[in-house]
């Protein structure tokens, strides 16, 4: 069964799965514990504007996505700062505006109409070596920032208001976290596509959280689960000739449902308490 590794595109795809899992396992952990799934969805969909602009003007759509992702992260941080009543609605508008701009930009693009589907639903088999390099760089950036600010991110995601009373720059840290989410989303677009990004960002941490007693452990487990799901999904999609992104998501959800049968956390902790008393 290992003959698939003789193809370059397959090796690239496997490498992409490994590299992307690092980013979305770590950042998805924050998305889940801070419960900012909707905000992440907004950032994800707004990147489509950047992808369209890239096609129209003629630069790499991936860079367009990074630009739009960061812009929308900053926009959300601004909404937060001014504690607007209509934050939810405005994020919804940003969400749709990004998509609408993307569709318009692409429709203006003369001649060759690029494949919309591959950005909406991902196509890991077409990932190029340059894109892998970009993903690696983003990975390194995310990894370093999370290591440097691990305790600070923990404090603001656990109890933002308390962190504020300590004098921590909560607004800046939160903005940084949103930018990291944007970068992670860009990595994931190639893998599963804009529409399915949220699933990949949230499913592994949602499983991991019930088996973790530390945020760092939850991140590690999420990364491992991410690698496992993407590789299994990739192999199945290859052998059964299925769309890769959707296959990965369905596999992840199946494992999520199975994991619900094991509520390990409660069990283990009760035992701990008894030992301690």
């Amino acid at each position: 069964m290992f003959e698939i590794f003789q193809y370059d595109f397959m090796l690239n795809a496997l490498l992409a799965c490994l590299l992307a899992s690092i980013a979305f396992g770590i950042i998805g952990t924050y998305v889940v514990v801070k419960r900012i799934v909707f905000i992440s969805g907004g950032i994800a969909h707004s990147t489509y504007g950047g992808i369209g602009l890239g096609y129209l003007v003629g630069f790499s759509p991936l860079f367009g996505a990074i630009g739009f992702g960061i812009l929308s992260a900053l926009f959300i941080a601004l909404l937060r700062k001014f504690k607007l009543h209509s934050e939810d609605m405005l994020i919804g508008i940003m969400w749709s505006l990004g998509m609408a701009l993307g569709i318009l930009f692409i429709s203006f693009t003369p001649g060759y109409a690029p494949n919309l589907m591959s950005y909406l639903f991902g196509n890991i088999l077409t990932i190029s070596f340059e894109e892998i390099i970009t993903i690696s760089i983003l990975d390194i950036i995310i990894f370093i920032i999370v290591i440097v600010f691990y305790e600070q991110f923990l404090a603001i995601t656990f109890d933002e208001e308390f962190a504020e009373t300590l004098g921590l720059p909560v607004g800046k840290l939160y903005t940084l976290l949103l930018v990291l989410i944007a970068l992670t989303i860009v990595i994931l677009i190639k893998l599963v596509g804009i529409i399915l990004v949220i699933a990949m960002l949230t499913i592994p941490p949602s499983i991991a959280v019930r088996f973790s007693n530390k945020l760092s452990k939850m991140m590690f487990l999420s990364v491992m689960l991410g690698i496992f799901f993407t590789l299994i999904g990739l192999l199945i999609s290859y052998y059964f000739n299925l769309v890769s992104g959707a296959t990965i998501i369905v596999i992840s959800i199946i494992f999520y449902l199975i994991s619900l049968l094991f509520n390990k956390r409660k069990l283990k902790l009760n035992i701990n308490i008894e030992e301690n008393l």
């Binding site: 995601t157 308390f162 004098g167 921590l168």
Partner: protein, 251 residues
């Protein structure tokens, strides 16, 4: 007596709603003030305003000399605000109190860890240090949040509804702990539970958008009626302490 904190003519809005109106409050060193009021009366808003999390539309907050809002408050929020699924141990929760703006690129040093253990010990939590925060009972969580606040070495402790998830038996010990802390720390505590608060604090204020405050431990019928906008039956639970002034029944 030294004034440690003073609020003058504080007004706070949420959007167009006036939540706090003309709040004036003087807090002396080693005070133990209980603020009662109905749900939605603005108790949490008042604490957040004192802490600087919310900005008043007008009015001023004065702290005694040498203090600033980042080194003097220990905030103990309602435990129900905190996600019980968050994977974090008791020790790690308490440690976060040691972070501050000067330590933005650093993590905890040995001194911080020692202080965290010290706070755990004070709150009688050492045996829970490795337990998940979310798996503790309401009263235990409350103590963890107090321990976290203590690591900042606060001059003023602000507690939001500390007894809302604590059963009355545990509550009793809880107030003993607070009295102990009150020897060196000024305490301001808000609650909608009149009975619980009135037995244990030194002074009582009532809050429902406006603050009614007499610098004493007695709640008068008039205070409560002002705050609750309706006649209130006074039922004093506290046998050892008399909360309500002797008053003749007029009915």
């Amino acid at each position: 007596m030294k004034t440690i904190l003073e609020l003058k003519n504080i007004y706070v809005f949420y959007y167009d709603n006036l939540i706090l109106e003309d709040i004036n409050l003087k807090v002396y060193e080693n005070d133990f003030i209980g603020i009662i009021g109905p749900n939605g009366g603005g108790k949490t808003t008042l604490l957040k305003t004192i802490l600087g999390i919310l900005k008043p539309a007008s009015g001023r907050i004065y702290l005694c000399e040498g203090l600033n809002k980042q080194n003097c408050f220990g905030y103990v929020p309602q435990t129900s605000n905190i996600d019980f699924l968050y994977p974090i141990s008791v020790l790690d929760v308490v440690k976060t109190g040691r972070l501050n703006k000067n330590k933005i690129f650093k993590t905890y040093d040995k001194n911080d860890i020692d202080i965290a253990f010290d706070s755990l010990k004070k709150m009688d939590l050492l045996k829970y240090q490795n337990i998940l925060f979310g798996n503790l009972s309401g009263g235990e969580k409350q103590r963890v949040l107090i321990a976290r606040a203590l690591t900042t070495n606060p001059k003023i402790l602000l507690l939001d509804e500390p007894t809302s998830n604590v059963d009355s038996k545990v509550g009793y010990h809880f107030y003993e702990l607070l009295s102990q802390l009150n020897k060196d720390i000024t305490i301001i505590m808000v609650s909608h539970d009149i009975g619980a608060i009135s037995q244990n604090v030194k002074k009582i204020a009532c809050l429902n958008r406006k603050l009614v405050y007499h610098d004493s431990k007695e709640i008068t019928k008039e205070m409560l009626e002002k705050v609750y906008h309706c006649p209130v039956d006074l039922i004093a639970h506290g046998i050892p302490h008399r909360v309500f002034p002797e008053h003749k029944e007029v009915e």
